[in-house]
């Protein structure tokens, strides 16, 4: 048994909330530079340059990249040989989010869904805990804005829909989302499972670095096919017309039921903010 204090977890979460909102990942920056080379629209190119300028400014002055600093989505992979001491895990996570959003001057967006009254500290986080072998604790924080989240969708298709039907559904979703999802987007697809599993693996797929293909060559090919189709839509950077509508497509799969073909599409804006730490 390895002991990890919940205070440590709180401190890590606080830092990850602030870092993810102010420092864009290298994979995202590389993808934007690559998109700039491919983009045919002059306005589109200018917008991609603005993304890079904004990222440099936000990093240098520790400013939020986007005013929508999201709900904090926290993925925890907890080793089964870890013994947590000092308090309970959920409280420690939410205390970290509370401190991160207050001390980092981040926007507080969480509120009561009926009364619409803001809680004032962006808690509670959306927490996903997985027990895994080992004595480590991995924390991933995705601070996801809702422009793109609002454009996401889960459908439980009949099996006859097939791979072609799935491709059409995903491309149509990106088309309907248009400028609202802040393109160029990263498209997270959850294929299989059930209602909630499809949505969860779609979100998790977004944590994979941009440009990294699925290890299964058949799934990797579907990712590439969908990316090609999306970039024929003409939506372009910020929806003003152009040749780069998506930076990447990530698929995660899970076994499903004989009577269903669940598909979740979780759209991610170009300002793709997530940070990880292993304890």
């Amino acid at each position: 048994m390895r002991e990890i204090s919940t205070d440590k977890i709180t401190n890590v979460i606080e830092k990850l909330c602030i870092d993810s909102n102010t420092v864009l990942g290298d994979d995202v920056l590389d993808a934007i530079r690559q998109a700039h080379k491919q983009e045919e629209s002059e306005v589109g190119k200018e917008i991609l340059c603005q993304f890079l300028d904004n990222a440099a400014l936000a990093r240098d002055q520790e400013l939020p990249l986007c005013q929508d600093t999201g709900l904090a989505v926290v993925f925890v992979e907890l080793g089964q040989d870890v013994h947590l001491v000092g308090g309970d895990l959920e409280t420690a996570i939410n205390e970290g989010v509370h401190r991160g959003y207050i001390n980092g001057y981040l926007r507080k967006s969480s509120l009561d869904p009926i009364k619409r009254e803001n809680y004032g500290d962006n808690t509670p986080a959306i927490i996903h805990i997985e027990i895994v072998p080992g004595d480590k604790l991995k924390i991933s924080v995705a601070t996801k804005g809702f422009g793109a989240e609002n454009m996401s969708k889960v459908v439980l298709f009949p099996p006859a829909t097939g791979i072609d039907g799935i491709k059409r559904f995903v491309v149509e979703r990106v088309e309907k989302a248009g400028a609202n999802a802040c393109p160029p987007v990263i498209v997270g697809i959850g294929l299989g499972g059930n209602l909630e599993k499809a949505a969860l693996i779609a979100k998790k797929s977004l944590l994979r670095p941009i440009g990294m293909r699925h290890p299964d060559p058949e799934i990797a090919r579907i990712e590439e096919d969908i990316l090609t189709e999306i970039n024929k839509l003409g939506i372009g950077p910020q929806g003003l017309g152009g040749s780069v509508t998506a930076l990447d497509v990530h698929i995660e799969t899970y076994p499903t039921h004989i009577g269903s073909l669940p598909v979740a599409v979780n759209l991610q804006c170009h300002c793709h903010r997530h940070k990880e730490q292993l304890i």
Binding site: L57, L65, Q67, D68, G147, Q238, G241
Partner: protein, 184 residues
């Protein structure tokens, strides 16, 4: 494509010259308002009451800024998706609002109101809020302070960059831009 310097309040003459696709740099006073503030404004208009801010000729910016760090005028303040304000916007345009800044397409009723009452809808780049905030020189909450980030903030901006999406002739840059690059 041209870059046009605009100042608020927007004149009818300026609005007549704007075309979808024009780049603009906006200077002067603009007001932030999102979903919750829009609901309150339209409730007031429907009751025949006076608005807490004078909207004649003015621009509403769909933005909920982050809190300012010490010594700063404002935090990061970029545009949010505009479609959520569609149920309220025609009523505000009928009552003198002349411009909206946000991101994403508008519904037909908003586009018709823009055409009928001679207004304009502008898009600012989403996800570059730190950059856009540099054009904000002053910021003051002028109504609905209880709404926090969703309160109405009066901003003084200098050279705020945006692009015309919907003009008085009913053009739509989102539609035209996409058609130009489709299936290439």
């Amino acid at each position: 494509m041209q870059t046009i310097c605009l100042s608020t309040p927007l004149s009818d003459e300026a609005l007549r010259t704007l075309k979808a696709g024009d780049k603009v740099l906006i200077s002067g006073t603009i007001y932030t308002a999102r979903d919750a503030a829009h609901k309150r404004l339209v409730d007031l208009l429907e009751r025949g009451d006076q608005l807490p801010v004078e909207l004649q000729g003015q621009i509403i910016y769909y933005s909920g800024p982050t809190p300012p760090k010490p010594g700063m005028v404002i935090g990061s303040a970029g545009p949010t998706s505009s479609y959520r304000m569609d149920p309220y916007t025609p009523k505000l345009i009928e009552n003198g609002l002349k411009g909206m800044i946000g991101k994403g397409p508008r519904g037909n009723e908003v586009i018709s109101a823009i055409k009928k009452h001679k207004a304009a809808y502008f898009a600012a780049t989403g996800g570059v809020a730190a950059l856009l905030s540099r054009t904000v020189k002053a910021c003051q909450v002028v109504a609905y302070e209880d709404l926090g980030t969703e309160a109405i903030h009066k901003l003084e901006v200098e050279g705020f960059p945006a692009i015309v999406i919907n003009d008085i002739e009913g053009n739509d840059l989102y539609r035209d831009g996409k058609e130009k690059y489709q299936d290439r």
